[in-house]
């Protein structure tokens, strides 16, 4: 009986099942089913987290065969944290989406099935311990994301979706090539089997595979200069989709970079490669923030903010590679904390932006006057999310920044300190660019209508979660430590 209630397989099968059922139910149906099922998934993740904290990392051998013949699922602290993030973001967004598509029906027909597959892909990816299986989850994730971008139709979204699709296919192609080389070198694709083999002997093929897989993931994570596809895709999709993509989808590929870097390819990492990743991250922070500041459309601003925030994630690599273990631990904790905090805050920010666009009827920062007076909770949520992105305390973003700053100062890499501080100030500049507009009264000729309450409250719940993460980050870090990933 206990086998039957194991949360691990259910976390993948449940969203697959409800996504398919939503498709069978018919166009636009399945929202309530999705919300109930995601809530259940949330409980399953909490149960899993409890199991990990009590008994350490867990392996689930699918089919009972075990690696290398079968495929293993691995739930360690890092995976559990990402699973927690995914369900925590998805539940309020599902509630938000129901309200959003009631007000803005364009694109609602097949939103739920695609979202179900998206979540199944995310959960499967976080739990997978098999390189080829990860390839399949990557494709499931990529196609779901591309489909969601194009869901509302129109020339700009379709163009963005195609660009995104080509980028993501090239990325998974590089991954598959890497898998082929690894299988050719070692005869297995299981992470657990491969790790000691790579450590013992790494032929040119393994190094080449590592480089290819890393490059493919960077393309999918939209790290500067591979960010070209992200702003139109995230900025052009319906708000709940933008939120899901910015909060979760790019985090999934970042998670893989982190796992490969810290575990499988750890013997191959060099300081130079780590510094290169850091430099790309720094460039993303500065370039993305500057472009965010230059936007006139609200959702494009938030999308470029994602380009910038992705940069922070990659600062962890120079801070965690070949440095004293204390600093490395702090850096990894900071990077993961940033992933979680940005996920919650960016979902809140896109959700709030979507409400503002519904209320004002247009996507224009210059015409936001009156939002402060008519949608105070939404604006407040946007502000709270902004606080997290700026890295002001108390918030998850601050905790992340604190951990990264500590690692930077401890390892004497002060140049990353300067980048992080400059990035925080630039973030403040573009967040306040929106806030100050929204405080102004309604411009003559414009109207601000009310939006459903569920839109306001779901965005607020996400923003509040990002803030509370800053006050209660310690349990999350305890969970992260399970299994020694950090």
């Amino acid at each position: 009986m206990t086998d039957f209630l194991d949360p691990l397989p259910w976390l993948i099968m449940l969203p697959l099942a409800w996504g398919t059922l939503a498709f069978v139910l018919g166009p636009g149906r399945g929202g309530r089913l999705a919300i109930a099922a995601i809530a259940l998934q949330g409980l399953l993740v909490l149960q899993l987290a409890g199991q990990l904290l009590a008994g350490g990392a867990r392996v689930h051998a699918v089919g009972g065969w075990g690696a290398p013949l079968g495929i293993d699922l691995l739930a360690d602290g890092l995976a559990a944290v990402m699973l927690l993030l995914a369900q925590a973001v998805a539940l309020p967004l599902a509630i938000y989406a129901r309200g959003y598509f009631a007000a803005q029906p364009k694109g609602r027909e097949l939103f739920w099935p695609m979202t179900g597959y998206l979540l199944a892909a995310l959960n499967a990816l976080f739990l997978s311990a098999d390189l080829f299986n990860i390839y399949v989850t990557l494709e499931l994730l990529g196609l779901a994301a591309v489909g969601l971008v194009a869901i509302a139709g129109g020339q700009a979204p379709v163009t963005a979706a195609l660009r995104y699709l080509l980028a993501t296919l090239l990325g998974s192609g590089a991954w598959l090539l890497g898998v082929a080389l690894i299988y050719g070198s070692y005869g297995s694709v299981s992470l657990a089997i491969l790790a000691p083999l790579v450590g013992a002997d790494a032929p040119l093929a393994a190094t080449l595979a590592a480089a290819l897989m890393l490059a493919g993931l960077l393309l999918k994570t939209a790290l500067f200069p591979f960010h070209f596809w992200l702003p139109p895709a995230h900025g052009g999709a319906p708000a709940p989709v933008s939120a899901l993509l910015s909060a979760l989808v790019i985090k999934a590929t970042f998670y893989l970079v982190l796992r490969l870097w810290l575990e499988l390819f750890a013997p191959l990492t060099t300081v130079a490669a780590a510094q290169l990743l850091g430099i790309l991250g720094a460039a993303a922070i500065l370039w993305g923030s500057a472009l965010a500041l230059a936007q006139t459309r609200l959702k494009m601003l938030v999308a470029y903010s994602t380009v910038a925030q992705v940069g922070y994630l990659f600062l962890l690599f120079p801070l965690a590679t070949l440095v004293p273990p204390d600093a490395a631990e702090s850096a990894v904790q900071g990077g993961v904390m940033q992933a979680v905090a940005h996920g919650l805050a960016k979902a809140a920010m896109f959700a709030a932006a979507g409400s503002m666009i519904v209320a004002t009827g247009r996507d224009d920062i210059g015409r936001l006057g009156g939002v402060g007076a008519h949608l105070p909770l939404t604006l407040f949520s946007f502000g709270l999310a902004g606080v997290t992105l700026m890295g002001l305390p108390p918030s998850g973003g601050f905790s992340a920044k604190w951990l990264l700053l500590r690692a930077a100062l401890e390892t004497g890499q002060w140049w990353w300190v300067a980048v992080m501080i400059a990035g925080g100030l630039l973030t403040a500049a573009y967040v306040f660019k929106v806030l100050r507009r929204a405080f102004l009264p309604v411009a003559s000729g414009d109207r601000v209508t009310r939006v459903p309450r569920t839109l306001e409250f779901s965005a607020f719940a996400l923003a509040l979660a990002a803030i509370l993460l800053g006050l209660f980050g310690a349990p999350l870090l305890a969970l992260l430590a399970v299994g020694g990933a950090a």
């Binding site: 069978v24 290398p68 013949l69 695609m114 597959y117 499931l140 489909g147 379709v158």
Partner: protein
């Protein structure tokens, strides 16, 4: 795009090919030998053909996700298809129509054979589904099937059946200890059940990718 950039890209691609070639010429002996392990466990897999055993037992979880990818692609194509796409095709040449009427039942029969033989020889649900889909495309070209932008409940059920059966079997055997862990005695039957569902759904899905994607001219 400037010539310089193009030259750079070509250089990059050639460099990649060279690096791949070099790496492949300098490979160590693999430390793990999976073929031997597959052969050793083939008897417990419920089928005789090693590729089918990998696809539907040892690495059945990959296949499960792959079926989801296929259905998802159809969902994406349907999301793009607009209602005006659902038009009856222009009637085709009578000869083609007659031929299609004759061949289609035969193709269904072939599909059934491929499904059955998959347990022992090359074949299985994907090959069978592909043949079914080809029958659908042929009927469509002959003007005997309408394009569908908005499949009805029955059709949606058929599209989803394979994945739903697969998921149901996967979790139904959780009591054995893990996902997709078939009881050894029932393995062959369960695999056939899954493959039967998959054949129908894959056939419909592959046909749907064509049928939903055509005839979009306004």
């Amino acid at each position: 795009m400037s010539r310089a950039v193009a030259a750079l890209v070509v250089l990059l691609a050639a460099g990649l090919a060279a690096a791949l070639g070099l790496a492949m010429l300098d490979l160590p002996e693999p430390a793990v030998r999976l073929p031997a392990r597959v052969a050793a466990k083939l008897g417990d897999s419920g089928v005789d053909h090693p590729v089918t055993a990998v696809l539907l037992n040892f690495r059945a979880y990959d296949t499960l996700l792959e079926v989801a990818v296929l259905l998802l692609a159809l969902v994406g194509v349907l999301a793009l298809a607009r209602p005006h796409a659902a038009r009856a095709a222009a009637p085709a040449h009578p000869l083609l129509q007659t031929l299609a009427r004759l061949v289609a039942p035969l193709m269904v029969l072939v599909a059934g054979y491929l499904l059955w033989i998959g347990a022992h020889a090359p074949g299985g649900a994907f090959q069978a589904g592909a043949v079914l889909a080809a029958a659908g495309v042929l009927l469509r070209l002959a003007g005997l099937l309408p394009a569908w932008a908005q499949p009805g409940l029955l059709l949606r059920g058929g599209l989803a059946l394979g994945l739903l059966v697969f998921v149901a079997v996967a979790v139904a055997v959780l009591g054995q200890g893990s996902l997709l862990q078939y009881p050894p005695a029932a393995a062959g039957g369960l695999i056939l059940l899954i493959e039967a569902g998959l054949t129908l759904s894959i056939g419909l899905t592959l046909a749907g990718l064509y049928l939903a994607g055509t005839e979009v001219e306004p």
